[in-house]
Each structure stands twice: as C-alpha cells, then as structure tokens.
Symmetry: C2
Subunit: 182 residues, 2 copies
Amino acid sequence: MNVRTLCLSILYEGEATGYEIRRLCVEGECSYFIEASFGSIYPALAKLEDEGFVVSRTEQQSGKPAKKVYSITDQGRAAFADELAGPLGDDMFRSPFLLFARFAHILPRDLVEARANEYLEKHIADHRRLEEAFAERGSNASDTWVINYGRAVMEVAERHIRSHMHELITLARAEPKKDAAE
Amino acid sequence: MNVRTLCLSILYEGEATGYEIRRLCVEGECSYFIEASFGSIYPALAKLEDEGFVVSRTEQQSGKPAKKVYSITDQGRAAFADELAGPLGDDMFRSPFLLFARFAHILPRDLVEARANEYLEKHIADHRRLEEAFAERGSNASDTWVINYGRAVMEVAERHIRSHMHELITLARAEPKKDAAE
DNA sequence: CCGGCATATATCGGCCCGGCATATGCTCAG
DNA sequence: CTGAGCATATGCCGGGCCGATATATGCCGG
C-alpha cells in the first residue's frame, strides 16, 4: 500500500494540503495502521498531479507560508477504486520492544522495568486516542467498523501488558551490572 | 530496529546462514513482529563481518551451493546488548486491509466479502502458527512471554473479525456494478 | 524430460523514512 | 524587548530496506 494510494484515500473525503495529510496520518483516527512522512507525501502528491489524479490551488495566507491545497479528480477517484480492487498486500507489525523482551534474561532488571513501563504508557495513550475518536463519531459506518477493530485489539494488548509485565521484569538479571553506567 | 540488530539477535542463540536467518524471520515464532528480506540481510551480514561482530566459515555441500555459516563474536554480543540498552523505536502496524475496509461503502459487495474472507483466513493461519510454537515450547521463558503476548492479541483479532465481518459486508454497495467486469 | 521448487548467495532499482534546510510569524519566558 | 522555541508549510537528500532478478544446482512429480 504505497503513499500514492494513501494520499488519494484522504483526498477522497475532502481537499487537503501535504502538511494536513501528514497530520492526519500521525494524529488521525487511522494513525494506528497508516503512516507516512513528508519525504514521501510531497513527491507522491507532485507525481499524482502530473498524472492528473489530483489538482492543486495555491492559497496565500497572511503570516503563514502559502499553502498548496490538493483535491482529487474523477480520474483520481477511479484510480483509487481500481487500486482497492487489486491485490491488497499483507498487514505488517514490527515491534522493537518484543525483540527486546525476548532477551530480558540477559538485561538488567532496571532497564527491563523502565522499557516495559514506557511500552505500557504508549499503549494507554494510543488506546485512549482511539476511544476518543470513537466517542466523537464524526465518521461513517465503515470508519466506525475500523475503529472498533482497533479498539478491540488495543484493549486486549493493554490489559495483557498491564497484567503480565511483572513476569517479564522477574525474568531480567537481578544485579544491574554496575560497571561504567552513565 | 535495523536488520543488523535483527541478525545479531538470531546469531546470539546460535550460528546460521543468511538464508536460515531469512527463514526464521518469515516462518519462525517471531515472524509476527519481525521481518527482513535477502536484500537487507546479506549486506548487513557482510558489514557486520567487516566490523568484527560476526565471523563466517564456508561449508561445502554436495548437491547444494556452498553455504556461509555466520557466528557471533564476543564483540558482537556486547554490541547487541548495547543496542538493546539504547532507545528502542516505536512499534508499527500497517494494514492495507483496514484502509480498504474504510471504503467498503463505495466498493462492490462481492469484493468486500472476498477480501474479508481472505483476511480472516490469514489471521487464522498466523494464529495457528503461533499456537503451534507455543505447544512446541523449545524456547526459554522470555520467548514464551513474547509468544503469549502474540497469542492474546491474535486470538482477539481473529474472533473480532469472525464475528463482525458480516457488518462490514453489509455496508458494501449491493449492486456489483456489472460494467466491464474482469 | 521439463517445469517447478528448495537451497544458497548476491545485486539493483526504487520506495520510503528521518533529518535537514528554508521561510515566517506567533507566544511566552527572561 | 528580545530571542528561543514552536506551529505552519514545502521540499530535498542520504541511507535503509523490500522485492525482483540473476546464478547455480539437484530433486521430485507430472
């Protein structure tokens, strides 16, 4: 699922600038399964415009840099629908923390405890954000379905970490290996 | 979490070839949160050898190409521990299917139904693989912790899809737009 | 007997992330 | 009042990584 398709998906629902698209990826209700950075969004948008799938209009603003507002064309809508109709590509999940956790037994207990707590905090924050999105309910039924899937998974993940992180910490090396600690 | 660290993590537990490392990423019990392809493993291994973190020995085989078996050095173990002690980087989850699902209402029902079924099948397969890894139990306590986390999340994900995919299919466009079908 | 698959290593094009540069005006602390 | 830092906004670039492909070989099934 490339950034091109992601941009079209956002523009499908309304016009936006590159900056706003990025914000929606990072802070939006779908941020838990979508990601993109400036370095890929701006070139993607430029290429999409070349191909006629989006059009842009430059808007001067007082006090702020001029913005380039993109909107999707009929051609773009068709291309997006085609993309969704094609083969989809697998989900992917990567977790540096779980790699870390696999080696809990060779790591100092302090470190494992700190990282486990950070991990829990992050899960709580992500989960809360999605619960808020659910409560706001500006979205349509499809969006709600997706949000509910996320809520179900996050709820379990958070609860599992909360009630089992202690076991992981117990696995860690008791003596914190004091040499040359910062 | 770069591929270098991933390679070290696998070699930490025993020697392996590039090919085997790749297999462990794709089929191993940790495949649900780790991924790497040849295109990154082989260069990473070569660089790791330059730096003295791993050493290799070439093993001739009759009927098969010669293999280069890598093993980790003490220096490599230290570097790996350092890496784990450093800042960890966020988990990431991306789902082309969920992006697809958000637009169920503009897509033909047949397509949504087919994709939803594929998605469920894939989840069942992934879940089963992890249940098998849990049953085998060659692994240590840390590995078991990680596997149990994965089991908890996958169990809920699978169950949620199974019991709610129908709602998503109902959202899809009823008439399949017969023009110019494949 | 030939195609496909498994083993095994390696490269290459291209996508994408993260950091940086650039420009500007606002707000808040010193 | 001044300047540090942040938010808005666009864009480039180095480097990391994926996926496809090349190369070599032998086994198994149709």
